[in-house]
């Protein structure tokens, strides 16, 4: 089912948490909310679930305004960051909870509940753990139980709050792939909150980048990578090198003889250039000097001293690394310029 937020604002006491958020996820879409901690992404997720109330704006699920609809009637599957499994219930009881608390008229029979639990347990690949208690499970297993529990109520949309936040990196990668496959199979509209860019860019169809309660940009992972709307987005979605410069007459100068001038479309004034390390070219001969070379790993990392700046560049695999101390020249042709504010 589709999801839409229209001009949603929220404050905690005197501190605003979300400003005027407009955001939509189409039927079956996987949307990630990516942002640093404190950017309001979890609050946004809780607003959708009905666990927080907005001061202004509308939340629409399947086109219906959710104003006045309590959390328990929204039909939203919510997976909490720390799973929030019921500690005194077994895995099977946890998963069955949402079915057992339905009003009698809509409550499935015992056998149906049992069948549904078994089905979900096999979906999350842990049928043998039905009788375990949450404290007898690993973090990854708890995560999957929480997901199965949320799916049991056949939610209209699925909300995931930092679903992999508490897991170690190895487990995270596996679960990430699994979650995407699960999404493709169920076709559920899914919103996931994360502060991990790799996670968001790898799993989601579209990513909304939040900062300090505002949406900075929404786009597909490829779109964001190709055309970041501002410096924050550029920095947040990948490693970057930052160089301050001055723009005059369409030319950016870096105030150092060892950095080449570059054309720049910004008006005259202070600015800075952002580059991905792998977009920086290094050629022999010039005013800059190679400070250090780390050749282990898939790419060669080269540290260049250019005037007062230390620039880190990544050379493509197979490139012959320059020798430490040799003179070199930097190619900044791929730089994007942003005005100083």
């Amino acid at each position: 089912m589709s999801l839409a937020l229209e001009a949603v604002s929220k404050r905690f006491g005197a501190t605003p948490a979300l400003y005027d958020i407009d955001l939509a996820a189409g039927e079956g879409e996987f949307l990630a909310l990516l942002g640093p901690s404190g950017s309001g992404k979890t609050t946004l997720l809780r607003l959708i679930a009905g666990l927080e109330s907005a001061e202004a704006g509308r939340v629409l699920i399947g086109g219906a305004d959710m104003a006045g609809v309590p959390a328990r009637a929204r039909g939203v599957g919510f997976v909490f960051q720390h799973y929030a499994l019921f500690r005194h219930m077994t895995v099977a009881e946890n998963i069955a909870f949402g079915l057992r608390v339905r009003p009698r008229a809509r409550r499935p029979g015992r056998a149906d509940i049992r069948a549904r639990v078994a089905e979900l347990l096999s979906l999350v690949q842990m049928p043998e753990l039905a009788g375990r208690y949450p404290d007898q499970l690993s973090g990854g297993q708890r995560q999957r139980v929480a997901l199965a529990r949320a799916l049991a109520i056949e939610p209209r949309i699925l909300l995931l709050d930092e679903p992999f936040g508490a897991l170690d990196p190895e487990v995270r990668r596996g679960l990430r792939r699994w979650l995407r496959e699960l999404h493709d199979r169920t076709g559920l509209t899914t919103v996931m909150v994360t502060h991990d860019r790799a996670e968001a860019l790898e799993v989601a169809d579209r990513v909304a980048i939040l900062r300090a309660g505002r949406v900075e940009q929404v786009g597909t992972p490829a779109g964001l990578w190709a055309a970041p709307a501002n410096a924050f987005v550029y920095r947040f979605i990948g490693d970057s090198v930052e160089l301050p410069c001055t723009v005059q007459g369409g030319i950016a100068r870096f105030g150092s003889a060892s950095l080449p001038e570059a054309p720049c479309a910004l008006p005259d004034g202070g600015a800075f250039a952002l580059l991905r390390p792998h977009e920086i070219g290094i050629a022999a001969g010039g005013e800059a000097r190679v400070r250090a070379v780390a050749a282990a790993g898939p790419a060669v990392r080269v540290e260049v001293q250019a005037g007062e700046f230390v620039v880190e560049a990544l050379l493509p695999p197979g490139a012959v690394p320059p020798s430490v101390g040799s003179a070199c020249r930097l190619d900044l042709g791929a730089a994007r310029f942003f005005p100083l504010r």
């Binding site: 929204r74 500690r87 404290d135």
Partner: protein
């Protein structure tokens, strides 16, 4: 457990044990020695006395009223304090804990000031023909005051530590308020709640100062077990007093034993929450 850097000197252990022996163990031993000296048979016979039986019945009645009232009130208060942020939350908690720092005698006195012969409500009570002070209602009120904070003090720290995510999860899964309370909130605090109820009951049955002020010491009518002990003791019926004291001491020991077990359960529940497997 890491190895402790400095083992405790034997002398310190002995000193601590001596202190516990002289302060706690020996008095208890002396008490039970007095009971055993007179012979179990005679000690049990003391409970055949109609006055003693009336005291036991009265104590049970007072506890049977105070325990549920303060348990339900305590649950409601813990729900508000541990799950909501509201103006005056800290003040409410202070008020609830106030009886802990008030002398038992004062806890009884306040009821005399309200309902006693010269109390605020004396004229009303007289018109209604209801007696509160020097009667069972006064004993119940004094006990309610004294045992007021027990459940809240057990529940609030645990509920705060557990957080409210599980309850929120229950809501998103479609549970209504009561279902959430019965299936999630209550099971999560059951051991701590039981512990609070046990302490509340022990205090309700063992309270002396507060009830002595409102009792009026009418034999066979307003003497609870602790008051009966005092009456017997002052009457030079020491053996009967010791017999009843022995019974209350047993209650205290059983309470402590049960509490130790429950504490272990609660700690397990909190650990399971805090440490990921």
């Amino acid at each position: 457990m890491t190895a402790r850097p400095h083992p405790v000197p034997v002398l310190a252990v002995l000193a601590a044990l001596a202190a516990l022996t002289f302060l706690v163990l020996l008095p208890l031993a002396a008490l039970f020695a007095e009971v055993l000296d007179q012979g179990i048979g005679r000690a049990l016979a003391a409970f055949n006395d109609p006055e003693s039986r009336a005291a036991i019945r009265l104590t049970a009645l007072v506890a049977a009223i105070s325990v549920p009232v303060n348990t339900i009130g305590g649950l409601a208060a813990a729900w508000c304090i541990a799950r909501f942020h509201f103006a005056g939350r800290g003040m409410l908690l202070t008020f609830i804990e106030l009886p802990l720092s008030v002398s038992p005698v004062i806890s009884g006195l306040v009821w005399v000031l309200l309902f006693g012969a010269q109390g605020w409500f004396a004229p009303v009570l007289e018109r209604l023909g209801v007696q509160v002070i020097f009667a069972t209602p006064g004993l119940v009120l004094a006990t309610l005051f004294v045992t007021f904070p027990f459940v809240v003090r057990q529940l609030v720290p645990l509920m705060v530590a557990q957080g409210r995510e599980e309850e929120e999860a229950a809501l998103t899964l479609g549970a209504g308020g009561w279902r959430m309370f019965w299936h999630v909130t209550l099971p999560n605090v059951r051991w701590a709640l039981l512990q609070g109820v046990l302490l509340l009951n022990a205090r309700a049955m063992g309270e002396f100062g507060a009830v002595s002020v409102v009792s009026g010491r009418i034999r066979g009518q307003t003497l609870t077990m602790p008051l009966q002990i005092e009456a017997l003791y002052n009457d030079f019926q020491a053996p009967a007093a010791f017999a009843m004291a022995g019974l209350l001491a047993l209650l205290a020991l059983v309470t402590l034993g049960a509490r130790a077990m429950l504490e272990w359960q609660t700690r397990r529940a909190v650990d399971a929450q805090v440490t990921p497997a």
